[in-house]
Symmetry: C2
Subunit: 349 residues, 2 copies
DNA sequence: CTGTTAGCGCATTCAG
DNA sequence: CTGAATGCGCTAACAG
């Protein structure tokens, strides 16, 4: 069915080896021969078989990326960075959406091992339980045994001596800037919409937020903490629950922007104004954070850069040096204002 | 370096052929033997080499997707649909972002041919010029010659007898619903922020919009048409130009949501209120359309479904039957209201 | 400069 | 039920 190198050789009246040499260009070939081969390639519309090649080289040059959901702007931005860098390096990206399901995550790793991927990048939150970590550690060993490079982007290593490069964000720095902004404006009853429990990003963001808040002299009241799953809808649900509980608060800080968007919608649905009655914050700085009204005050994560750096690290040779921690930045828009006397009163009513 | 099937055979004390049969399970193997082999596989942490397999089968089972920008929610939603269906079919998705550049698009097609992709899905706008069409037609032939199935998602075929499945949207239906909504509210001076000229989606959406508008008795004034490139920023720029030109209008209809978001920002920056002074509409119904204030009135495209259908079509056997046209739907939110006398006056001032 | 040979890892004949 | 042999398409020695 498909045209092979041998077909080209026959047509050009040379040996397969010569065709190979012309194609790869790293070997001296007479000009006339070269031209004849090139013509045959065009005539036959020949395209090399990457699999035959990969069989010889023991690696395919594929870059595998495993993430939760490609339609989520957080992952989309990281994927764009990876993709852009991969294109520069003439590498192909294999994207796998695991839907945050660890068994399909493992299944994808297996597939990438089958494909003899050169680099595997694991992006975003991972489960925290020991069983997961143990299984992942095994897969990591398998990947390494095949010579694949592993990069952890926005997630911790499954265990301390994992052989992997790592790119993450200065979450604590961002949380501190955010907490100090909110607290200095006068908020002390602040609610928190957390990410999913039992997954690294959710836990990590909650911990740094609580810490940053307490450094500002405000402690995070457990009764004011509700969890979502990072989706917009879960932000809506979380705030509804918060409101139904009768708790009183003047600000809602969310573990990511999508939930903050949902939180704003739920607040308004309950007849509350943002920011006059309740202030709202997010984390990530996804594009829509600037389009909502009021503009969402959030912590900007250099997502695209994280993607670029992840791949660069994989190809840098000194892969497993110190982890890269990217700086974060507070982005002040209009969703946080000082709590008004009116709002305080309303809350108490 | 890597463990091979032969290693497993040696360890289990059987022939390579037997290991292969155990692995593929389509052949009778004695229970005891099977167990020994399975143990050896586990002990050695053996993973088949997909390339060796692809070499035998002449296809890799890879699904290649070429799109403009994975971080754009339009493409993100389609990619999610493709990815979900691919996972069900136990296929791997290779995602390629071409940045709307035709030479890198062709380069990716070549790479996918090298990989002996089973299915190639081309998503979104394509250039309209004859040179592009001719070159693409050649690549299509090459793909076919290798037995790859081609799907066009949201773009027309390069020529009438292209052997490809096709999934698209009922653009005209959506435009009609939208135009009639806008016109029936009383708008007659409507501006249009078009997509890029010379690319199919931009042209197509502009044509159907103009047609739908004229069916409602309003003609699209060329002086009120400005073009962007589907990005948010280009929507901002387009509306600034419109405003600077001194043109007068009571509604701005945009070729997609992202530009509509930019348009709203630019309008507000100029001190105009949306929708009181100027109504705004989009197309796509991306997630942020519901989060802006006012909510964006738009035409919903079943993006994720388009992705699912594209892949389903590729595997359905009767690939090249009639093109699938997915229905679109007007989503009325709050960004369109009747033009007020005040706004009309302001425009004339 | 070019042809011949061998083998990458696997699945599939064909024989036992 | 199992083993030996063959070849998928290509490149890297090794000879000429």
């Amino acid at each position: 069915m498909a045209v092979t190198l041998t077909d080209v050789a026959a047509r050009a009246g040379v040996s397969p080896a010569t065709v190979s040499r012309v194609l790869n260009g790293n070997y001296p070939v007479a000009d006339a021969t070269r031209r004849r081969v090139e013509k045959a390639v065009r005539d036959l519309d020949y395209v090399v078989n990457a699999h035959a090649r990969a069989l010889l080289h023991a690696t395919s040059g594929l870059v595998g990326v495993i993430l939760n959901d490609i339609a989520d702007p957080f992952f989309g931005a990281i994927a764009r960075g990876i993709q852009a860098t991969a294109a520069e390096m003439r590498r192909l990206v294999v994207l796998c959406s695991s839907s945050a399901d660890s068994s399909s995550e493992f299944a994808y790793i297996e597939v990438l091992r089958r494909q003899r991927a050169e680099v595997v990048i694991l992006v975003g939150a991972a489960p925290e339980d020991a069983a997961y970590r143990r299984e992942m550690a095994g897969h990591v060993r398998g990947l390494r045994a095949q010579g694949a490079r592993l990069v952890l982007c926005g997630r911790p290593a499954p265990n301390p001596h994992t052989a992997a490069a790592s790119v993450s964000f200065d979450d604590l720095g961002g949380a501190r800037a955010l907490a100090s902004h909110v607290v200095s404006l006068g908020h002390s009853a602040v609610a928190y919409v957390a990410g999913p429990e039992g997954r690294t990003t959710g836990t990590q963001r909650r911990l740094v937020f609580a810490k940053a808040l307490s450094e500002c002299g405000v402690s995070l009241d457990p009764a004011l903490v509700v969890a979502g799953d990072f989706s917009r809808q879960s932000g809506v649900d979380a705030v509804r629950r918060l409101l139904a509980s009768g708790a009183s608060f003047t600000a809602v800080c969310c573990a990511n922007d999508l939930m903050a968007l949902g939180a704003m919608a739920a607040l308004r649905e309950a007849g509350l104004r943002v920011p006059e009655d309740v202030s709202v914050t997010g984390v990530d700085d996804v594009p829509s954070a600037q389009d909502v009204t009021p503009g969402l005050t959030t912590v900007r994560l250099p997502l695209e850069e994280a993607g670029r750096r992840s791949l660069a690290l994989a190809f840098s040779g000194h892969d497993f040096g110190s982890p890269v921690v990217l700086p974060t930045e507070l982005v002040v828009r209009s969703s946080v204002v000082a709590p008004s006397a009116a709002s305080a009163r309303r809350k108490l009513a």
